[in-house]
Symmetry: C2
Subunit: 409 residues, 2 copies
């Protein structure tokens, strides 16, 4: 039985948070100095465990066990959002390191190979899920050539060059090398906290379908244009957002979410009736049938809004993701381990946020577990998780890893 070292885990997590420390969180954008220092530090730690460690051409760090036996890949992403939390991504990376350390020092686990991994740029400084997309072969050179930093405009190629990664080959998924991939992550929501559970066994990672809605009305004088003849694009946008919120509950799934994140009225002057409005809208669910129902209803509500407003409306789906299904046997292994360490304190749940596991799941079996986020806060430097939950999550992960590797689930 692998018994993790709780003190070592917590001190390593805090040590890792020194890379780009910001208040009680971190500021560690992808390929920046702090990010690259943290990746080279990981390579050192992997090597000290006797692993064959390397960084690939997009910054992913791997620690391969020196064995012909298939290993279990464990990790998450190492960089952070700007001025954000210390655990988002980093926790899963350090869990991978701690499980590898524990297995290396546990007699009956030394033959169970753990391959820790740290993905790059899950957090979209350049490309969302860059590292895991590259790993599964979903990212071509043209996209890498075109990418720029969303905040600074720096070209990705320049950032990679400055990070010393130009000419370094990318590493692609080799399913014969690994049994599968397990990722631990903070929940980033308040679901676990709200129902008093400590471990979330992830069933799937929701797909995101994203839309751009462009509404064309007639721009006119807000004083001289009678209400009866107006074609107010801004009001039509507001009507659509409200209609969606009123009518989606009729067809959505239990944990579907939808968000109107942006709504722009043009010209945006107090005395001019908006002639044009642009809306960014997204839906998320783990079930593609539910997503399709929401999509169909959206088309219907756009049509209703068009008829009611007299405005032209174009609806464009700009992203259509696929849900990432977590492996059933991996889910069971995580659940058994959770039941042992906190009986009744775990729950199956989908992930509403994207994670590297949804990409890796395209190439091999994958599993995920969540620990609670205090107050549901993430992407902010106040993000945190109770120490006891941090320790519990890693122990559950270690036990599940043993189960998976020993019983070849």
């Amino acid at each position: 039985m692998p018994k993790i070292n709780a003190d070592r885990l917590l001190s390593t997590l805090r040590q890792f948070a020194e890379f780009g420390r910001y208040k009680t969180g971190v500021h560690r954008p992808t390929y920046g100095e702090d990010d690259m220092a943290s990746r080279h530090w990981l390579i050192q730690q992997y090597k000290m465990l006797g692993l064959d460690a390397h960084i690939d051409g997009v910054g992913n760090v791997f620690g391969y066990p020196r064995t012909s036996r298939r290993s279990l890949l464990i990790g998450s992403h190492a960089e952070s959002q700007n001025h954000a939390g210390w655990l988002d991504g980093a926790m899963g990376v350090i869990y991978g390191l701690e499980v590898a350390r524990t297995f290396a020092e546990t007699n009956d686990c030394q033959d169970l190979p753990i391959a820790p991994v740290a993905w790059a740029d899950e957090e979209s400084h350049f490309i969302a899920l860059l590292g895991s997309r590259s790993y599964v072969g979903d990212l071509d050179d043209a996209e890498l050539d075109a990418a720029i930093n969303a905040y600074t405009g720096q070209p990705l190629r320049e950032a990679l060059r400055k990070a010393g990664l130009s000419g370094t080959p990318r590493t692609f998924a080799d399913p014969t090398r690994h049994v599968g991939y397990v990722e631990a992550h903070i929940e980033q929501g308040d679901y676990l906290e709200s129902i008093g559970k400590r471990i979330g066994v992830v069933t799937s990672i929701v797909a995101i379908w994203q839309y751009r809605v462009v509404i064309s009305g007639i721009q006119n004088h807000a004083g001289t244009t009678r209400m009866a003849i107006r074609r107010d694009a801004g009001l039509a946008a507001a009507r659509l957002a409200v209609l969606i919120d009123d009518r989606f509950p009729e067809i959505c799934g239990e944990r579907s979410v939808w968000t109107t994140g942006r709504m722009t009225l043009e010209p945006g002057a107090p005395s001019i009736i908006p002639g044009r409005a642009e809306v960014l809208f997204q839906i998320r669910d783990e079930d593609e049938a539910v997503l399709q129902r929401m999509h169909d209803r959206l088309e219907q509500l756009v049509e209703e809004t068009r008829m009611a407003s007299g405005c032209e409306i174009s609806l464009e789906r700009i992203a259509k993701g696929q849900p990432g299904r977590m492996d059933a046997a991996f889910q069971s292994a995580i659940e058994r381990a959770a039941q042992q360490h906190c009986p009744g304190g775990h729950v199956k749940m989908p992930s509403g946020a994207s994670h590297d596991a949804q990409l890796v799941a395209r190439k091999m079996r994958a599993g995920m577990l969540f620990v609670p986020s205090i107050g549901g806060i993430s992407h902010h430097w106040t993000e945190n998780t109770e120490d006891d939950d941090l320790v519990l999550g890693c122990q559950v992960l270690a036990d599940a890893a043993e189960d998976i590797l020993r019983n070849d689930l």
Copy 2:
């Protein structure tokens, strides 16, 4: 009976449109070279009629008759919106000139004094209705010192200096000098066109009450935050705009208008639930009792939205204008003249747009007439009015002016 010279009117209108010509419209921002050239040209024309012409410290141009008898002030504003129409303001200015010319050459009208006027910056390049606000004493030096150009940021004082107006005194309304003020303007809406009328007799100029609504919700992750616990400031803003549009008809007046011109969601990212929204909203009506009913209803709907959304909402009235009542005798004079020249082709109506007449009406009796805008278009270089309507409007104005002055209405 004054008979205007239709050919001279139309050619003078076209000549005036050469100052800052842009496509079929004009680009003549306040105090720019073209605007100042047009004002100095007006002074020349006024002088050629024997008038005592001067430009005041904010660019208003007056042509005072050399008589002790009280004159009728006739005009509008000379500058244009950026890249806008050739008639908005300019038409009323040239009508004033044409009526003065006609009276000067009409034997039985030579003793009826017409004082043409051209106001400055009604179009808000620096301060909305700047010239007429200055004239009625509603603009202090501190406001002039602080004003900057809305498009270029140039300080008003610098613009006045470059225009050669520094040190020139401002002219203030002297009610003993004038019988009153009459302004002709394009309608800027489609009401006249829609009911097949050619002259609008303005009953009053609506007041504008303007609001800033700030909605504070909770910014959160659009994937991990369940619908049930969201406090979506953007959705609350949309709900408020729709509620207003659904419920204002219960209490508004026949020609009330309301407009949500701007709606800003923050941070405006597709995967983040908006934590803050800001809305600019305005109402217009000619009746302060109706405005008060709309104001009360707005407060009620803000409260309903607050309760339904769980968001905090602050409602701030940032402008509370007063309606400008047009003089009843002046209305009758315009109506009689219109009935003579186009029987049944005129209608009484409020003005939904602001005009210099609403300011001048605070100091003396005032009247206004509208001619149709083709397609209701204004503030755009395609703005236009049929030549026949341009001629008719000026003739009606001339006859009404004679009526007012001869009968001392």
